[in-house]
Structure formats: C-alpha cells, structure tokens
Amino acid sequence: MNREEAVKVVMSMLEKNVEGLEMSEDKMGETLENLGVDSLDVMLVVMDVGEAAGVTISDDEAEALDTPEKIVEFIAKQ
C-alpha cells in the first residue's frame, strides 16, 4: 500500500470510529490522545486499519502507534 492510500485508510477509520473527529493532513503528526481518541477508540481504529490494509498489527506494534502518521508509516511499509 502506498502512502497516499495509507493516509486515506487511516483518516477514514479515525473519522468512522471517533465521534466528531474531522481529519486533515495537518493533524497527522498529532498524538491520538490530543485528537480526542481514547484508549478504547485506539484499539478499534488499529483493528479496522489493519483489516482494511490487510496487515496484522501485533499488540506490541500497536502500542507504539500513537499518532496517525505512525499508523500510516507502519501499514505503508508492510
């Protein structure tokens, strides 16, 4: 998956699962916590992103994905 596709997937899964969140490129580097994504939302977003991108994200790997950009980088390099 290229970066452009990865960005699209991550943004859409964040908006789908986090009420009221509108994503834009300038928010990609912000922490998920600052974007109002709580710990349970994060689990759902990571699961949905993994399924949409066709990649398996282990618990340890998921723990390190604390910004939308890091999620994008992770799935883009798989």
């Binding site: 709580d38 759902l44 998921a62």
Partner: protein, 307 residues
C-alpha cells in the same frame, strides 16, 4: 426433552461506586459511564462466599417455581474462584447446604465468561445420558477475590454475582444448536498470576470483535436461521464499548441485543443468566446466547421456546 425451566440470581449487598473509583484512578468519569458502561459494581462482603451466594440464588429460584430438593439429581457449579480453593468442589458444599439427596451428582466446571453456555450444554447432556429429570446449574465467579486494587483496567470492570438455572424435563426453552471454540494460544490475555488477575485489554478486545461474530454467524447457519429469525441476542456483558462493537460487527440489530451492565459490571459466567432472567418475562421465541473470555474460550447457542 430437557431444557431451561427457570432462572434466578443473587447480587451481593456490597457496592462499589465506579465513578469514585474513576476519580481514584484519575480516569474520566464520562469514559467510565459511556465506554465501560458501569456505574456501580456489586461486591462480595466479608460474609459472602460462592456457596452462600449460590444458596441465595436458589432461595430466589424457589420464590419463582416450586422446587423439591428431593427431586434434584444433579448440581453443577461454574466458577474459577471457588471457596476453599475448590477442594472440596463447591457443588458438594451447595449440596450439603441444600440438604439434597445422596443420589445427586455434583461437580464443578472451571470456565470463565463462556461458562454459562458451556454449562447448560454439559448439564443437559449429562442429565440426558443418565436419565435425570431435574438439575441445577450455578454460576458464581467472584473476581473481587483476585482483582489487583492498583489495576484500573480490571477494577473498573468486574462485579460479583451468582445465578442458578433449573434444568428439567418441563422446559420453557430447549437447545437447538451450539458451537464451542478455544484459542488456547491466546490464553495469556486473561490469566491469574501470583493470585491476581491480569488482562491484556487489547487482546481480549480483538478476540471479541473478530472471533465472536464469526461464531454467531456459524451457529445461525447451522441452525438454518437468519438474524431476523432470532428474537433476542444475549451476549456476555464484558464492557459497553466492546459489546456495542461486537454487536455491530456481527450485524445484530441493536434493539435485539440488550446491554445492561451499568449496575452489575462484568459478572463473568453470571452475566448471561442475569440478563436471561429478566428477558424471560417477555417470552422471546428464539434466543441466541454467546459467552466469551478466559481461555480464550467462546461458545454460542440458540435456544427455542417450547410451545
């Protein structure tokens, strides 16, 4: 034919205010109310035990239906936190307290949140194989005994309760179809270590959302039923957020799948019978139950009303 005749439950008098617990853990109250979905947790007090809670549930059962202790031929108790470390098996202690006949089989089942669905099937099969007509399935798993008071992920979640289900040859509901699954390689997600519960929330969440909906669909297929044929879906009440998303992923109409854990929390193998007890008043025709947790173990069964 054997099946579910009646159900009763017991909640201990002790209560933990979960919003006060939220403050103690510096967790947002709204998160606890809306996402975990639990405001109050029933807790065993000093005088409570698996046996006393089970007896209390039985007394409640006797207020609903006539039960002659002399007729009980089988007592099965599902717990992973038994009194006296499980020796003797707690069903024998319940047997003694109820003054049951010596011609009564008693054994415990060591399962967590899938325990009720498993237990129903085990009891019915055991009774059928041995020509028995009346048996009792108890659930009581007081997780307060193993909670780490510093672990907010589990302290905010689990409540104590007990239930008893009368299985008899005069059933209101009988089993149509069931599936049982295990992922032992994932068992570290929920385990006891140094006598304290450890939970990997993410692993449990992934398991619930990815594996449970598949099993629900398989059971429906094997029963040749569609979602719309089922009147009531009773899923293990783990947490509100996990339940809402499991229900969504399974494609279950939300109005058919009650979420009622605000006053009980996650009561492990008692969560489905606590729900079922209340829902039986409306006499649903077809009920799907799905329990999932420790093991990792999950079980789904469809019960239909006897006309």
């Amino acid at each position: 034919m054997l099946g579910i005749q009646s159900i009763a439950s017991y909640l201990p008098k002790g209560r933990v205010d979960n919003l006060e617990q939220a403050d103690r853990f510096e967790t947002d109250r709204e998160f606890v109310e809306q996402k975990i979905g639990v405001t109050t947790l029933p807790r065993f007090e000093a005088e409570d035990s698996v046996v006393s809670a089970s007896i209390a549930a039985f007394k409640s059962l006797c207020e609903k239906v006539s039960v002659d202790p002399a007729d009980i031929e089988c007592v099965v108790l599902c717990t992973q936190n038994p009194d006296n470390g499980g020796l003797p098996h707690n069903s024998a202690l319940v047997h003694a307290e109820l003054g049951l006949s010596e011609d009564c089989a008693c054994f415990d089942i060591g399962l967590g949140c899938s325990g009720y669905v498993y237990g129903l099937s085990v009891v019915q099969a055991f009774m059928a194989a041995n020509g028995m007509k009346k048996g009792l399935l108890f659930t009581c798993d007081p997780y307060s005994r193993i909670l780490n008071p510093e672990d907010k992920n589990t302290c905010l979640l689990f409540g104590d309760a007990a239930s008893v289900t009368l299985i008899s040859d005069s059933p209101r509901y009988t089993l149509s179809s069931a599936k049982f699954s295990t992922k032992g390689a994932g068992s570290e997600a929920l385990q006891k270590n140094s006598n304290l519960l450890e939970m990997n929330g993410r692993a449990v969440f992934n398991f619930a959302l990815q594996d449970v909906p598949k099993q629900i669909k398989r059971v429906l297929e094997s029963a040749e039923l569609k979602m719309e044929d089922v009147d009531l879906f009773l899923l293990h009440q783990g947490s509100r957020f996990m339940l809402e998303n499991t229900i969504k992923r399974a494609g279950i109409p939300a109005e058919k799948a009650p979420i009622k854990l605000a006053e009980t929390g996650n009561t492990v193998s008692s969560s489905i019978p606590l729900l079922l007890e209340k829902e039986l008043d409306s006499s649903p025709g077809t009920i799907l139950m799905s329990g999932f947790g420790v093991g990792l173990s999950w079980a789904t069964a469809i019960y239909t009303q006897v006309k």
